[in-house]
Amino acid sequence: MENRLKEEAGKLLKEGKVDYIVGYGKGTVNLRTSPLITNKEEDLEGLVINPFIANNLSRYPVELKGRVGIVVKGCDSRSLTSLMQDKKVKREDLIIFGIPCEGVVDLKKLAGQIGAEIDRVTDAEKEGENLTLQVDGSKKTIPFRDVIFDKCYGCEHPTPLEYDVLLGSEVTPNLDIEKSLEKIKALDDMDTPERWDYWKEQFSKCIRCYGCRNVCPACFCERCFVDVNMPQWVATYATWQDNLTFQLIRTLHVAGRCSDCGECERACPVGIPLRSLQRKMVEEVKDLFGHEVGIDKDAPPVFSHYEATDPDEFMK
C-alpha cells in the first residue's frame, strides 16, 4: 500500500496535477504518526500507512491553496464529503487516496493495556488479529481490537466512500456498537443532577486551548463565536460555565457535520471525554433527521435546508 501511495503521489506532483500531497509520515514520538504535507517529491519517501494514523487530515485542504492529493480513512472521507457539501472544498480540487481501515490504535488505551508508558514501546506491528509490540526490549502480543479507539467499534464505513484511488481491498464493517457507545450509555443512565455534576467536573478542567475546535474538520468558521468580542458571548478566560457553554454551542454547530472521527477527544490535553458529546449528537441527528454525515456529496447539508417532514416537536 505504502509503495503504491508513494508512486501515485509522486506522479501527481511530477505531472503538476496537485500542488500538495497530504498524508501521514513517521512521527517523532514512539509509535506516533504525523501529518506529512508537502509539495516536494523527495519528501514522499516518508509516507506511511499503519494502524497509528490517527489524525483526520481533511481539514488541511480547506487551508491549503491549490489542488491537493489527500490520504483518508473511512471517517476522514466522510468529513471531507461534509466539507464538500458545505462548499469548503471542491471535489475537482482533490485527488483522494482511500485507505480501507480496520481501526486505529488509541495510544492511551495501549498504555493502559501494557501497564507502561508508550515511551517504553519501541516497535509495534499488526499481525493478523494481533498487535505485536516490543516493550522494554521484550516481545508482547495483544489483541488488536482491544486497543483501537471507541469510535472504531461503531464504524459503519471503514472503507472510504469517496476516493479516486483505493489503497488495498475493501474492509467490511466489524461492528460492536455497544462497545462504541459504552461511555455514552453510562452517561445516559445517570440521572440529570448526576450527569450535570459529571460535566461540571469535566469542564472545570478545560484550559481553553481550543485544541478540540482547531483539530475539528467541521469547525471551519472564519471567526469562532468565542473569538467574537463585540459583543462578547463567552468570557475569554476559563470558567467551567463558559467552558461548557463553548463546548455545547460547538457541539450544536458541528451537528450534522461531525463524522465521529474523535479528533476532539484525542487532542484534549486534559482528557475531557468530548466524543461522548459529539457522538451523542451524531445519534440525535440520525434519529431526528435520518441523516448520516458525509454519505452523499451532492446532498445539501442537513441544517442548511428545510424539509416539510423535519421534526418540530420542540415547537409545540
Binding site: 504525523s34 508508558e117 478566560y237
Partner: protein
C-alpha cells in the same frame, strides 16, 4: 545538614503532617490527566508511575485564570480592591528538574522592571521539593539545555527515588528549614548517596533527543527572513494553544474586565501567540499568517528571551512534543534551523 532519607510508605504520613500548616501540592492523575493537585490524603504512590505532569507547575504561580482586582462604583467614584494571593505557605512536592529551572526562568520575567505581585507573592511563599528523574520520557531533551535529570540547584530540596526510599538533600535555606521540620527521616549512608548519583548519571544517558544550542542565537536571527522554511515547518500546525499552555515557560496573558452594572473584576488569563486573535484586543495581531505565528513562538524562546534575559526559554521538558495533536516537534524545528 547531610543527606536524609524517608521510606516511601511513610510519605502519606509525611504529607498529612505537612499539609496541616500549608497548602501541599503533589502530582496526581485523579482528574484524567496528570497535574499538581492539593494533597487529598489518599495515594502517595506517584513516585511509581509519574513521568511528568501534563500541566506544568507554572499553573500554581501563574494560574490559567486569576482575578487581579475588584471594582465598585461608589458615591465618590470607583473603589478598587486589589486581590492578592492569601499568603498561605505552599509546598510543591515532586517537581522535576526541568520544571524547577522553568520557574527560575519565569522568575526573571516576572521580577523584571515590572514586579508582578501575584506571581511573586506565590513564589515567595512556596517551597519547591524536586524529584530527580530516573526514567526520563522519550520526549525529554533537558540535557541539551544545561539541565540534569538527576540533580538540580533550582529546587529547595531534592529527592531521589533509590528504591524503597526517597533520598533527600537540602539545596536552599528554605529546603534546610523544611527538612528540619520533617519527621520520620533517617540519615542516609554514603552508599545510598552514591546510588543516587549513579541513577542520575544513567538517567542522563537515557536521554537521546537533543537540540544543538551552539551558535543558535545567530542562526535564529538569520532564519527570520527565511519564509520558505517557516512555511514548511508550520504547514501541519492547527493553531491551537496546547503547546503554549503546557509549556512551563510560556507566560503570555490577556487581561479583561468583567463588568456588571455597578461592579466588576479584572481578570488575567493565559493567552497564546498561536491564536490568530492574540494581541488583537489592544491593537492588532501583526502575525496574520500561521507561519509568522509559529516563527514568533520559537524566536521568542530561543532568540528574544535570550537577548533580553540571557536565558533560553525552553527547558527540554518535551511537553509540547508529547501533547501536540499533530506532532510538531521543537527539536526538529531547531535542528532544521541549525542545518539552514
Amino acid at each position: 545538614m547531610g543527606y536524609k532519607k524517608i521510606k516511601k510508605d511513610q510519605l502519606k504520613t509525611l504529607f498529612n503532617e505537612l499539609s496541616k500548616d500549608c497548602s501541599l501540592f503533589v502530582p496526581s492523575g485523579s482528574k484524567g490527566y496528570v497535574g499538581f493537585d492539593p494533597w487529598d490524603g489518599n495515594s502517595a504512590d506517584f513516585t511509581e508511575w509519574y513521568g511528568n505532569t501534563t500541566i506544568p507547575p507554572k499553573a500554581l504561580f501563574f494560574p490559567p485564570v486569576e482575578a487581579m482586582l475588584r471594582f465598585r462604583k461608589g458615591e465618590a467614584g470607583y473603589e478598587i480592591e486589589e486581590l492578592l494571593p492569601n499568603g498561605r505557605p505552599q509546598i510543591v512536592f515532586g517537581v522535576r528538574p526541568c520544571d524547577a529551572r522553568a520557574l527560575k526562568i519565569t522568575d526573571i520575567l516576572f521580577s523584571d522592571t515590572y514586579r508582578d505581585p501575584y506571581y511573586l507573592k506565590r513564589r515567595e511563599n512556596a517551597t519547591i521539593v524536586g524529584l530527580a528523574c530516573n526514567e526520563p520520557c522519550d520526549t525529554c531533551f533537558c540535557t541539551s539545555l544545561d539541565i540534569s535529570p538527576g540533580e538540580s540547584q533550582d529546587v529547595d530540596l531534592l529527592c531521589t527515588d533509590i528504591g524503597d526510599e526517597l533520598l533527600m538533600e537540602a539545596v536552599s535555606d528554605k529546603g534546610e528549614d523544611l527538612l528540619s521540620k520533617m519527621s520520620g527521616l533517617s540519615d542516609a549512608s554514603g552508599e545510598e548517596e552514591s546510588k543516587a548519583k549513579q541513577l542520575g548519571e544513567s538517567a542522563k544517558e537515557k536521554i537521546t533527543r537533543q537540540i544543538d544550542t551552539s551558535g543558535l542565537l545567530d542562526k535564529m536571527r538569520s532564519s527570520f527572513e527565511n519564509r520558505e522554511y517557516w512555511e514548511d515547518v508550520s504547514r501541519k500546525c492547527m493553531s491551537c494553544g496546547i503547546c503554549t499552555y503546557v509549556c512551563p515557560t510560556c507566560h503570555c496573558f490577556d487581561i479583561c474586565d468583567e463588568n456588571n452594572k455597578k461592579d466588576g473584576k479584572r481578570v488575567r488569563n493565559w493567552d497564546s501567540c498561536k491564536f490568530p486573535l492574540f494581541t488583537r484586543m489592544p491593537m492588532e495581531n501583526p502575525r496574520h499568517e500561521k507561519w509568522r505565528r509559529i516563527r514568533q513562538r520559537y524566536h521568542h524562546k530561543f532568540e528574544y528571551f535570550q537577548m533580553n534575559f540571557e536565558a533560553i526559554a525552553c527547558t527540554g521538558c518535551g511537553r509540547c512534543i508529547r501533547e501536540c495533536p499533530v506532532n510538531v516537534d521543537v527539536t526538529e524545528i531547531i535542528g532544521g534551523i541549525q542545518a539552514l
